[in-house]
């Protein structure tokens, strides 16, 4: 088990009982080495059954967090649609899917210009409720933070189109 602490007496040992090394309660605070100024990071591999919460609860959180169906609204459209983000493997597929669903063209993303040159710009609402331009962050990060999609008219999206 990883342990960066210098407290030998309290070191978690999995040797057979009866092995040498007298075990005495830690007498003294030897501070750990300077490179761990916060609590040791969690063990690298996920431990089975830790933290001890029931699968039922874990699944509930997982669903809520990566609830993959998100609403998609389009400015001017009378009703919303819903799509399953899990179905797409990346931004290209997502945008293609949106283009098909709403019969429009979104155009190409560039970090600098956003979706300049197209009629529409895809935006999304993230966990904090902020309106963000689709495409800036890695796909996985987008997947887990996207709560809602909004296809905005490019004229409204001018502010979003410019990267600083």
């Amino acid at each position: 088990m990883d342990s960066d602490l210098n407290l030998k007496a309290t070191e978690l040992r999995l040797g057979l009982p009866g092995t040498t090394d007298a075990i005495s309660p830690p007498k003294n605070n030897k501070r750990s080495s300077p490179d761990s100024d916060s609590a040791p990071s969690p063990p690298k591999a996920q431990i089975v059954g830790w933290p001890p919460i029931r699968s039922y609860r874990k699944n509930n959180l997982a669903e809520a967090e990566s609830g993959s169906f998100v609403k998609v609204s389009m400015d001017g459209a009378p009703y919303l649609r819903k799509i399953d983000l899990k179905v797409y493997n990346g931004y290209l597929e997502l945008l293609e899917g949106l283009e098909k669903m709403f019969k429009l063209t979104i155009g190409e993303y560039s970090e600098r210009e956003g979706y300049k040159g197209s009629e529409y710009a895809p935006a999304y609402e993230d966990k904090d409720g902020d309106l963000m331009l689709v495409g800036d962050v890695p796909w996985e990060m987008f997947e887990s933070s996207c709560k809602k999609l909004r296809i905005m008219k490019a004229s409204d999206a001018r502010g979003l189109g410019c990267a600083v």
């Binding site: 040992r13 999995l14 609590a39 919460i53 609860r57 874990k58």
Partner: protein, 583 residues
């Protein structure tokens, strides 16, 4: 005692029976039956409620012979650590043999309460058809059935009062089990289907609620939208306990206004849960009932942000039981501490179990609660970090803990301020809380903490240990010191044969012992099993594909990965799968 005993013997049995009617707790009734033969017999024939903490400690035949007038049975199957994937699937805990035996013996079963058992559709069907007066089915953390089984219960149990499914794994078969409650069914008092994943027939649900005038407790699932909740509340303003399904809607809509009004009319709601899918802006609808709430469970609602939580909680001055997620933060716990002066039980669950980042709650939150809530007696706290100083303060503030369960997200994290083990902190807890019956420890811990536990935790009945201790001494301190210990569960700790075999008789005074990823060897387990015939010592292999491969190569000197032992009156069980070997 002699004089009064002979006096009591002159009482006719009916009088004794009447007196025993007032003795309700299981332990007291067990004691009564030990006094003398005549009391044993009177008690035996008048006992209606039986609790069996380990379904393999006895068998159905013995139960029925012992208590032929049984009406209410409570059974527990798998051990606690099975909740955390430490027990392979199909280990056991089937309820069918029990239902079958009671059915054959014409037991007049009215209530069945199961925890961690495997319940098949077949068992539910047999249950539904065998017991005409069946009234109450409570399944906690069970699995193995589908909504077809529920349909059988709904269709056949004419006097059903309670159907309570808590955190079950149920296969949803797209049937319409709710519609199977006949129009003539008006007896429901409690209905909880919050754990079901699929759609329900909402029209049938509304009609059911409308005709069950005695309905007091209703917990809906995810699939029931807010519009339907509103209609249900209009039909059932008498509810005591409400679990919402989905709670998201446009707060500007008419539906939402209607909901707010319906809620205002629900003067009896004392317990609230759900918010399985929630829009924070809909929460104000709930404010009117907050003032009278005594129990609130928001632990399934990760969508509520901490400031919304705090706002909600400020309305809940009478809360006695609060279950939340750590998204509440230390600050939010401060709000709880200032507001909830009646708080007795707090559970703070992790919202991000594997996340390394955002320290959601720390020792500060716990200290604040202990300082602000004088009636606190039960806590389950998942936290990023802890300190001895905090635990010592908590121990001083709250000497009345009955249950204290602390879980650090990193199982061996030391004191965040001093880098020391957390021995002193837990030591303070056991020393101060003389009534402590349940304890779970975590964080960096040496044998010292077990010395304290053995020394001070005189009333301790259940102890959970993970990644703790240095040597057999640790386990020995506990086995020697905790006289009332009933359940001991240990994982990933360096306790071995010496500790296991030091006091073998002790295990007959306990319900069970679980040890996984420790240092006990097969040879020692064999020795124990040989010397103690009234224990089942089960060795559970990893590979579910039969005992062949793994077992053949297992030598007496090899460590055993998982051992579960329990006292029993009926010897090795007959339904053990291949990967379980009873020594």
């Amino acid at each position: 005692m002699c004089l009064s005993q002979s006096v009591m013997n002159y009482f006719p049995e009916e009088v004794l029976e009447h007196v025993f009617d007032f003795v309700t707790s299981h332990r007291d009734r067990n004691a009564v039956s030990l006094v003398c033969k005549s009391w044993y017999n009177v008690e035996k024939f008048s006992r209606e409620k039986v609790f069996i903490g380990n379904c393999y400690a006895v068998n159905p035949e013995r139960l029925i012979a012992r208590f032929p007038r049984l009406r209410s049975l409570s059974l527990k199957g798998k051990p606690h650590f099975a909740d955390f994937n430490l027990m392979p699937h199909d280990w056991g805990g089937h309820v069918y043999p029990w239902i079958e035996a009671m059915s054959k013996s014409r037991i007049n079963l009215e209530e069945l309460r199961l925890k961690r058992m495997v319940v098949s559709d077949e068992s539910l069907e047999l249950l539904a058809k065998s017991f005409p007066n069946f009234k109450s089915l409570v399944l906690v953390t069970c699995e193995g059935y589908t909504t077809d089984g529920l349909a059988a219960i709904a269709s056949n149990c004419k006097f059903l009062r309670e159907l309570d499914l808590q955190e079950n794994e149920v296969d949803d078969r797209k049937g319409h089990w709710l519609s199977c409650f006949p129009e003539s069914c008006t007896s429901l008092v409690s209905l909880n289907f919050s754990c079901l994943k699929g759609e329900v027939n909402v029209a049938a649900l509304e009609r059911l609620v409308a005709r069950c005038r005695n309905l007091r407790s209703l917990r809906l699932n995810h699939a029931v939208p807010l519009e339907v909740l509103q209609k249900i509340l209009v039909h059932a303003p008498q509810l005591n306990d409400l679990g919402t399904g989905s709670f998201t809607h446009d707060p500007n809509s008419e539906t939402y206004v209607k909901l707010k009004n319906a809620m205002k009319n629900c003067h009896s709601i004392r317990s609230f849960s759900g918010f399985l899918d929630v829009n924070g802006r809909c929460l104000p609808a709930v404010y009117p009932i907050c003032a009278s709430l005594t129990a609130l469970n928001l632990s399934y609602a990760p969508g509520i942000f901490s400031n919304e939580l705090a706002k909600l909680i400020r309305h809940c001055k009478k809360i006695e039981r609060l279950w939340i997620l750590d998204t509440i933060g230390d600050k939010g716990l401060g709000v709880v501490a200032n507001t909830c002066k009646e708080l007795q039980e707090l559970r703070v669950f992790p919202s991000d179990p594997y996340g390394v980042g955002n320290a959601a709650v720390t020792e500060e939150g716990l200290v604040a609660i202990s300082a602000g809530c004088p009636k606190l007696n039960s806590i389950l706290y998942f936290c990023q970090q802890m300190t001895n100083a905090a635990l010592i303060t908590v121990a001083k503030n709250c000497p009345n803990f009955i249950r204290f369960r602390l879980c650090t997200l990193n199982p061996i994290v030391p004191d965040a301020a001093t880098n020391q083990p957390l021995d002193e902190g837990f030591g303070a807890i056991v020393q101060s809380c003389k009534g402590l019956t349940r304890l779970s420890v975590s964080g960096l811990l040496t044998d010292q903490v077990f010395l304290y536990i053995g020394m001070y935790a005189e009333r301790l009945e259940m102890l959970s240990i993970a990644f703790a201790g240095d040597s057999d001494k640790g386990m020995l301190y506990v086995l020697n010191g905790c006289k009332k210990l009933k359940k001991l569960e240990i994982r990933d700790s360096p306790f071995g044969n010496m500790a296991l075999l030091s006091d073998m008789g002790k295990y007959e005074t306990m319900r069970s012992l679980w040890m996984s990823s420790c240092q006990v060897t097969l040879g020692a387990c064999k020795t124990l099993a040989e010397k103690m015939p009234r224990l089942n010592v089960e060795i559970i292999s990893e590979n579910e594909g039969g005992a062949g491969e793994g077992e053949a190569s297992l030598d007496d000197r090899d460590r055993v990965e998982k051992m579960y032992l329990y006292r029993t009156l009926v010897g090795p069980r007959t339904d053990a799968p291949d990967f379980v070997r009873t020594l």
